[in-house]
């Protein structure tokens, strides 16, 4: 049986652990709120851009911009996988990685070349020796900003337009609640009807009696990439929200477990102390009897 001293040091280290996990939980909770707030703002912005595109172009069809055009033959597909940079967030990253592996396993015979790009280190570390890596975007997961998103977007736009890839997909954990995140696959490029909010609002007649500089067409080529940038930014935020939600839950569990262990060990320590006292008493009594 371990001594009282050993129990004490164990209890102390458990107490320290639970302090850390409790703090991590609170930090994640506040970061989660921030990410959700940003998501709302980003949605408003995308809506405004869409409205503006509609005002300029009337109804949007796919010949309007190369980023809207579906290629007839799809040979090379880039999948961007969003994970967190850090661990300690339960099954958040592993769920997505398993989802991705299943996806590629099912499609390994269909003649399409898949390459992977990563936002977030966890996914990259897992796949770096297992698949064709196109690029790892460093330092974008931890602190998602519109600025970093637009940098990622510029690269993706470039490789899409120069024909390196015919389709670009995103794999990201959708944030349902702090308790559940579900891996999902979205199409990033070419843009889909949903991105253009088709069906959501009626087509308006394009405004014509308006000054525009540069011309309307050029203006459109300026606006459409904004929507792509928004999608990347939104995915980053979704990933951040999911990460913090998952970490919150994981750390909450860890805190509860630590509390249980502390209780258990306190009981064992008290027993050990009582046993020591009893032994001592017996020794004294039998010593006295011997006299």
């Amino acid at each position: 049986m371990p001594s009282i001293k050993e129990y004490n040091s164990k209890i102390n280290s458990l107490k320290n652990t639970s302090k850390i996990t409790k703090t991590m939980k609170m930090v994640s909770a506040s970061k989660l709120r921030k990410a959700q707030e940003s998501q709302r703002n980003a949605k408003d912005f995308a809506h405004e851009v869409n409205q503006l595109i509609r005002r300029i172009a009337g109804n949007v069809d796919e010949n309007l911009h190369p980023l809207l055009k579906t290629r007839e033959e799809e040979k090379k597909v880039l999948v961007v996988i969003f994970t967190s940079d850090k661990g300690l967030c339960g099954g958040f990253n592993n769920n997505l990685i398993r989802f991705a592996e299943r996806y590629f396993e099912e499609r390994k015979d269909d003649g399409i070349d898949y390459e992977l790009a990563f936002c977030g280190r966890r996914g990259y570390l897992h796949f770096q020796s297992r698949a064709t890596i196109h690029r790892q975007f460093d330092l974008v997961s931890a602190d998602p900003g519109a600025h970093t998103a637009s940098r990622v977007m510029k690269h993706l736009e470039k490789v899409f337009l120069d024909g390196s890839f015919d389709r670009i997909m995103m794999m990201v954990n959708e944030f349902i609640s702090p308790l559940s995140q579900i891996p999902r696959l979205h199409q990033l490029l070419p843009l889909t009807d949903q991105d253009l909010e088709k069906g959501e609002s009626e087509a308006v007649a394009p405004v014509t009696d308006i000054l525009s500089e540069p011309g309307m067409e050029q203006l459109l080529s300026f606006l459409v990439p904004r929507l792509v940038s928004f999608k990347v930014y939104f995915a980053l935020l979704e990933n951040a929200a999911g990460e913090h939600g998952a970490r919150m839950t994981a750390m909450d569990n860890a805190t509860t477990n630590a509390a249980n262990l502390i209780e258990e060990n306190t009981l064992l320590r008290n027993r050990a102390r009582q046993a020591a006292i009893t032994t001592e008493l017996i020794e004294i009594i039998s010593g006295a009897e011997a006299l």
């Binding site: 408003d44 503006l52 940098r151 009696d209 308006i210 203006l219 904004r226």
Partner: protein, 103 residues
């Protein structure tokens, strides 16, 4: 004379108030919008800009985006809008941004 200016970025609204003039960097250089401007849509490039209100002048660096004069209001949709202290600071930040994009 004044009008209402809204500056929106993906990170949220940055500015929503009555202003006298807004200046930004357009395709063909810096330009300003005064009250009563004809309806217009224009593309913006990364560069210094300023907002003049009755209480003073504020300097910004605006990211790429658009400016729309939508009578009687003006709406700017930009990638980012960072507040700075002076024109010099704005120019410096613009240069840093251009350097950062080259990687």
């Amino acid at each position: 004379m004044s009008y209402n200016l809204r500056i929106l970025t993906p990170e949220g609204p940055i500015f929503d108030d009555t202003v006298d003039t807004v200046q930004a960097t357009g395709y063909k250089g810096s330009f300003g919008v005064l009250t009563g401007h004809a309806p217009m849509i224009t593309a913006l490039l990364v560069g210094p800009g300023k907002v003049i209100t009755s209480s003073g002048t504020q300097w910004y660096v605006f990211g790429e985006g658009t400016l729309e004069v939508r009578k009687p209001d003006v709406v700017m949709l930009v990638d980012f809008a960072e507040k700075v202290d002076s024109y010099e600071a704005a120019k410096k930040l613009t240069a840093e941004d251009a350097a950062g994009d080259k990687d």
